[in-house]
């Protein structure tokens, strides 16, 4: 955005209107009353039909595909049907009870919490390590940063198929490599073991997203005060001490952003789970979205909608937390 500002600054100094422009800029530097008078004069064109007209397409798209679906989904959450009677009727909180009391429903939300715990801190610590180790100039560092960020742009479904093959039980390369070095006992049915399925999907997620944490930290590091770091080095602090005592605390905004973005991304997780385990075995790696799709395809629209509502409420809580950080950013 700084580039845009510079460009705007340049353009503002270009003599577009000659004397006319000079007059306006003098008006700007004038007293408050002059400014207010000018505001009133602007009104004619600033307040015309252009505003509503230009905003209309965005509003239509937003209302039709986001706002109305959210409301409609809330309504459907309270409807239910059965195999005997497929028409949807009002069932009160039955669907939410179903989520809270059945194994798949409970596991889906327990798993999403576990998934967040297994991925976010690991991605943050590894990302910070990479960002610090690769900070500064040099083509080697640049190349390594480019490579580590690469998984972030790849297609999750493709990553899913790739790792499904790598982790295949009988002749996947991971197990073959383990057997080749005599570690047969470590060769596991990675995606078929109920204890391992979720942690393994989480590990693939870490592989994909650590580069993102690295990029966020890298951006935050460049804004750090060099003098503080040099002072720490002069005090005889070791690299680790500098990293944990001096650098990490100064990156609080980045930690916070990664935490919130991480939790929201976890709420959305689906592609990797669908391709790697399908939520199985026996719901061991079920997540809300995979359960929602199953319910929808099984004809349980109400349950699917209720799952969507719970996910929506959780996401909204996080959005509020995020927006509070931005303060009055949307208020000019």
């Amino acid at each position: 955005m700084s580039q845009a500002e510079q460009a705007a600054g340049r353009a503002a100094h270009e003599p577009t209107g000659g004397p006319q422009e000079r007059k306006t800029s003098r008006g700007r530097s004038g007293a408050g009353t002059g400014l207010r008078a000018r505001r009133a004069g602007e009104a004619s064109w600033r307040r015309g039909m252009w505003g509503p007209l230009l905003v209309a397409p965005a509003v239509v798209l937003f209302v039709g595909y986001i706002a109305w679906p959210v409301v409609s989904n809330l309504g459907t959450s309270f409807l239910g049907n059965s195999e005997a009677d497929p028409t949807l009727r009002f069932v009160g909180f039955d669907n939410f009870m179903w989520i809270g009391t059945t194994r798949p429903g409970q596991l889906a939300f327990r798993n999403v919490a576990l998934f967040a715990v297994m991925t976010i801190p690991v991605q943050m610590i590894l990302g910070l390590y990479f960002a610090v180790a690769l900070s500064g100039r040099g083509w080697v560092k640049g190349l390594l940063r480019t490579l580590l960020f690469l998984p972030v742009v790849l297609t999750p479904v493709v990553i899913g198929y790739l790792f499904a093959d790598l982790l295949e039980t009988s002749n996947g390369p991971v197990n073959e490599a383990l057997r080749a070095v005599g570690l047969d006992w470590l060769a596991q049915p990675w995606l078929a073991d109920p204890m391992l399925a979720l942690p393994v999907v989480a590990a693939v997620n870490v592989w994909m997203w650590t580069g993102f944490s690295m990029a966020i930290y890298q951006a935050a590091l460049t804004s750090l005060d060099d003098e503080v770091l040099e002072a720490a080095a002069l005090d005889g602090a070791s690299h680790w001490q500098t990293l944990w005592r001096v650098i990490a605390p100064m990156l609080r905004p980045a930690h916070y952003a990664l935490l919130i973005l991480g939790v929201i991304a976890t709420l959305k997780v689906f592609d990797l789970v669908y391709v790697l385990t399908g939520g199985g075995p026996d719901s061991a790696s079920e997540v809300p979205t995979s359960l929602l799709l199953k319910s929808l395809l099984a004809g349980h629209e109400g349950r699917a909608a209720a799952l969507g509502t719970v996910v929506f409420l959780l996401a909204m809580l996080l959005t509020i937390a995020q927006l509070r950080r931005y303060g009055k950013g949307d208020d000019q």
Binding site: A11, G17, F62, S135, L154, Y161, L243, D271, A305, G308
Partner: protein, 257 residues
């Protein structure tokens, strides 16, 4: 950290090599058995070209639609005055982090009502809607950073509001347009859930839905499936190689403010 020795760099380099092993694997397996003929075969016999075309149509339309709609709206929210401006902006902003899951059931109803299953617009419309709030925030910040005098001078000169926007302000938001474009491109190209639900006919499949069907038709011909996976990633990787820093900025924009 600036003095961290070359030993540290060697360690990170070694980790990076390990990190890249899965990607080396995807390339090497895709060339097993038939070599490059795996690629020509999935393109010619399995019609992967058609699916890549489907994804290209959906993705490029989504990107253009989002850039157009978000640009005019961001300009209006930033530089024009009209009733309900703040409330409408805040409402659209609140859609920024809504997961698809929260609206999936009604979306399937909308598709059915409009008869948009297995159509391009059936994916373009929801993709654009989901990308809109974030695009709007970034672009509005960009317009806010352009001085008002620019627009005032142009309008006083006799250019209409539209001309002033189109000729003078819009080109100045180019860096943000690139970021938003990259972000929207990746989101649509990589999207799976809606494509899986809405594109059920063989002809209309987009690339993310294809591997599942290939698994059935090739049974266990892993090299050919992997060749298809590589082809699916090719446009993304080529663009990333060309615009690497813009990708990183585009994907991390808005995270720290």
């Amino acid at each position: 950290m600036r003095r961290s020795g070359s030993l540290g760099l060697v360690i990170v380099a070694a980790i990076t090599v390990l990190w890249m092993l899965p990607l080396y694997r995807i390339l090497s397996v895709s060339l097993e058995d038939g070599g490059l003929s795996n690629y020509t075969e999935v393109l010619a016999k399995e019609g992967l070209g058609r699916y890549i075309l489907n994804s290209a149509v959906v993705t490029s339309s989504t990107v253009l639609l989002v850039l157009a709609i978000a640009s005019v709206a961001a300009f209006a929210f930033s530089k024009l005055r009209f009733r309900g401006r703040k409330i409408v902006y805040a409402l659209i902003l609140s859609g920024m982090m809504i997961p698809v899951a929260a609206i999936l059931v009604p979306l399937t109803d909308i598709q059915r009502t409009l008869g948009w299953q297995n159509t391009y617009q059936g994916l373009i419309a929801p993709y654009a809607a989901l990308a809109l709030p974030f695009a709007l925030v970034l672009l509005r910040n960009s317009y806010d950073s352009l001085p008002d005098q620019l627009l005032e001078a142009a309008v006083v000169d006799g250019a209409g509001v539209w001309r002033a926007f189109y000729r003078i302000l819009l080109p100045l938001t180019a860096p943000t347009l690139v970021m938003v474009g990259i972000w929207t491109f990746l989101n649509s190209w990589n999207e799976f859930l809606l494509a899986l639900l809405f594109m059920t006919s063989t002809d209309m499949r987009t690339i993310t839905v294809v591997p599942a069907s290939f698994q059935l038709s090739f049974f266990v011909d892993v090299p050919k499936i992997f060749a298809a996976l590589v082809l699916i990633q090719l446009p993304v990787v080529v663009l990333y190689a060309a615009l690497q820093r813009k990708f990183q900025r585009g994907l991390t924009a808005g995270a720290i403010k």
